[in-house]
């Protein structure tokens, strides 16, 4: 199927069609996989009517015969992948994370994991990164669902460099892999070279001594910026570790890092039950490390709003993370189930943003 885009005859420079103002990136998960497919005849790809949205479009453009367009049918897409893999292919199937992980969980569990086949599921737009699309499009429980499935590998790249490193680092694994990607291609960079990200080994992004911040995927750049701000002000010396390999969980490496700090803060674009923090707490308990660990993430279905506003509202941007880390340092509360990003913080952000929104576009009336 040829994937071509027509241009619209428009007059205003602010208008944009589905590909957005910035156009389509020259390098994306699609071009990374297409490069891999040039070298490796096993590589295939597919999507469920989100080829463009998940930044896979370069793959069908370069390898049309090795691409599956399933239409809007995620479970079928991932079932087809299992059939392909049982015949020797290594298929990479992409859709939004909410549909890849939870709508299709039974297919991943029975047809990828139970069979231990080399299917690669790529879930993009994880966490609350879909913003005002709402809870149907948020994936804030996917780690919790996926981390319990035997045989399944789960990785969460922080940027496109990490995505390439983890795709290449897992290409020969005999079993299934789930990729948890932020918004697909865009977002701030964390890494310069793929050698910085090694599958299975957490990457220390900033080295400090006071508090260990554990992050993964879309929150890594914000955690890094928070650490830089705290250090620049002379407030705290913070280590940031990118836990890009979520399953199998590198328990010993996390425990060793935690033991070198006063406290651990786990930042997650996910509900705190069953997410990254749960794995960290389990590892610390299992390996008898007595350092307090705090989970900083979501506690409920998210409210609606533009993505950047939502990250700010939930304290998951650099400023919020820095605030939480400082509170851990100042208060060290004994009850670690009490969120350190509080109702008052959220109310403040909401009030500030709503005041700003009230001034927008006064000429528009809906009556």
């Amino acid at each position: 199927m040829p994937l071509e885009r027509r241009t619209t005859v428009l007059t205003d420079p602010s208008s944009y069609d589905h590909e957005g103002r910035a156009g389509y990136p020259t390098r994306s998960i699609g071009s990374i996989l297409a490069d891999l497919a040039d070298e490796d005849p096993r590589i295939m790809a597919g999507s469920a009517d989100l080829t463009w949205s998940t930044f896979l479009a370069d793959f069908p453009a370069r390898h049309p015969d090795r691409f599956i367009q399933a239409g809007i049918a995620e479970r079928n897409l991932l079932g087809i992948a299992a059939g392909l893999a049982s015949c020797g292919a290594v298929p990479y199937m992409s859709t939004f994370s909410a549909f890849a992980s939870m709508q299709s969980l039974d297919v991943i569990r029975n047809d990828h994991a139970y069979t231990n086949l080399p299917v690669r599921t790529i879930g993009t737009h994880t966490g609350i990164s879909m913003g005002y699309f709402g809870s149907s499009h948020h994936a804030i429980e996917d780690i919790g669902a996926l981390r319990s499935i035997p045989n399944l590998t789960v990785v969460s790249p922080a940027d496109l460099v990490a995505t390439e490193a983890l795709i290449r680092g897992t290409v020969d694994l005999p079993g299934p892999v789930y990729f948890r990607l932020g918004r697909g291609a865009s977002g701030p960079d964390v890494y310069e070279t793929t050698s910085e990200v090694v599958f299975g080994e957490p990457t220390v992004v900033r080295r400090g001594s006071d508090i260990l911040v554990v992050a993964s995927g879309i929150t890594v750049h914000a955690a890094r910026d928070a650490a830089d701000a705290l250090r620049a002000d002379g407030r705290l010396d913070v280590t940031v570790v990118d836990l890009h390999t979520i399953r199998p969980f590198p328990a010993q490496a996390v425990a060793d890092l935690a033991a070198q700090h006063d406290a651990v803060v786990v930042v997650e674009d996910h509900v705190v039950d069953g997410g990254l923090g749960t794995s960290v707490l389990t590892a610390l308990a299992d390996l008898d490390v007595g350092v307090p660990a705090y989970r900083h993430g979501l506690h409920d279905f998210a409210i609606f709003g533009p993505p950047t506003h939502l990250y700010r509202y939930y304290g998951l941007d650099a400023e919020g993370i820095a605030t939480v880390v400082e509170r851990v340092s100042d208060r060290a509360p004994r009850d670690r189930t009490i969120p350190l990003w509080e109702e008052a913080d959220r109310s403040r952000v909401l009030a500030e943003q709503q005041a700003a929104d009230a001034l927008r576009k006064p000429e528009i009336t809906f009556a």
Binding site: S15, D49, I72, Y132, F133, G134, F304, P306
Partner: protein, 307 residues
């Protein structure tokens, strides 16, 4: 079975505008919501505007003053990404003040880009993940039959959404159980996200597939008000007789009403700014009229008293 019991909501919670102006008002609101958000689902919202205008011009028994009453008719917008059009309808009928749409998609709003039944009065079920809605509507239709109050259930699904297997699980159940009070409307706007439905995954002949699952099938022009009304009337008659569920396979145009983007998959989501928005509003403008103070009389429906 009598369905005109005194407890039923009044037929025809009605828009404040004439039918043609109502549809134009829906389209105008979709454009303005997109202007607030900086992005909009133009294609799929504009394609179903005339269908929504028909359903909410006196056909659906809903009561904005008592939005949650059990015996109301229900609409499941399974293609939830078109809800900017449904918000326009619900505001006009008085479920909530239209000016609340100024918060559309902004932080803390009730009005996201997919509808939330817990936040917005008049939304009968939350949607956004495709393929779920028809099963929900089957559940509502089964309950209505158990209650025996004659309430009807409508599900609007996209033609691309027919790719989802669960749609056919629900279709099979409804057909086998002769759920006459269930009306599915397939908004056949012929585009998905990656391209046309023909390019992505061709599901034609759509009507034959529903017929095979035991549904009464009608193919109509989804922008022709008279054709939609007539088909709704025939659904009512079928429901009164207690037969098969009905599906309207409605041929529509994605982005209908905005010539620059009509029929284009590229405009599933996008943004018409500045002069392009002005042009689009102008093109709708001749058909947008001011609301009347009191609600316009509902359009008569042929089978109004026919039960």
């Amino acid at each position: 079975m009598s369905i005109d019991t005194p407890t039923r909501p009044p037929r025809g919670a009605s828009p404040t505008r004439s039918r043609e102006a109502f549809a134009a008002h829906i389209r105008r609101t979709v454009l303005l919501e997109a202007e607030i958000a900086g992005s909009g689902h133009y294609g799929p919202s504009l394609s179903c505007a005339d269908l929504l205008a028909a359903l909410y011009s006196g056909f659906l028994r809903v009561d904005p003053a008592d939005a949650d009453r059990l015996d109301r008719d229900r609409l499941v917008l399974s293609k939830g990404h078109a809800c900017s059009a449904l918000y326009a309808v619900l505001a006009d009928l008085g479920f909530f003040p239209a000016e609340e749409l100024r918060t559309y998609t902004r932080l803390g709003t009730a009005y996201g880009d997919h509808p939330d039944m817990k936040k917005v009065a008049g939304i009968d079920f939350s949607s956004g993940a495709l393929g779920h809605g028809l099963s929900i509507a089957v559940g509502m239709a089964v309950h209505a039959r158990l209650r025996g109050d004659g309430a009807r259930t409508v599900a609007i699904v996209g033609d691309g959404e027919l790719n989802e297997g669960q749609i056919w699980e629900a279709a099979g159940y409804a057909g086998a159980n002769r759920l006459s009070g269930l009306l599915a409307i397939v908004d056949v706007n012929t585009v998905c996200v990656d391209g046309t439905t023909r390019e992505v995954l061709d599901y034609e002949p759509i009507g034959d597939k529903w017929a095979a699952f035991g549904w009464a099938v009608e193919r109509i022009d989804g922008h022709d008000a008279d054709a939609i009304d007539a088909a709704l009337a025939r659904f009512e008659a079928r429901h009164a007789a207690g037969g098969a569920p009905t599906v309207l396979v409605a041929d529509t145009v994605a982005g209908k009403g905005i010539p620059a983007i009509e029929g284009m998959a590229e405009w599933h989501i996008g943004y018409l700014g500045g002069s392009d928005l002005a042009t689009a509003l102008e093109q709708l403008g001749t058909r947008v009229e001011e609301p009347t103070d009191d609600h316009a009389a509902p359009r008569p429906i042929a089978t109004e008293e026919g039960h």
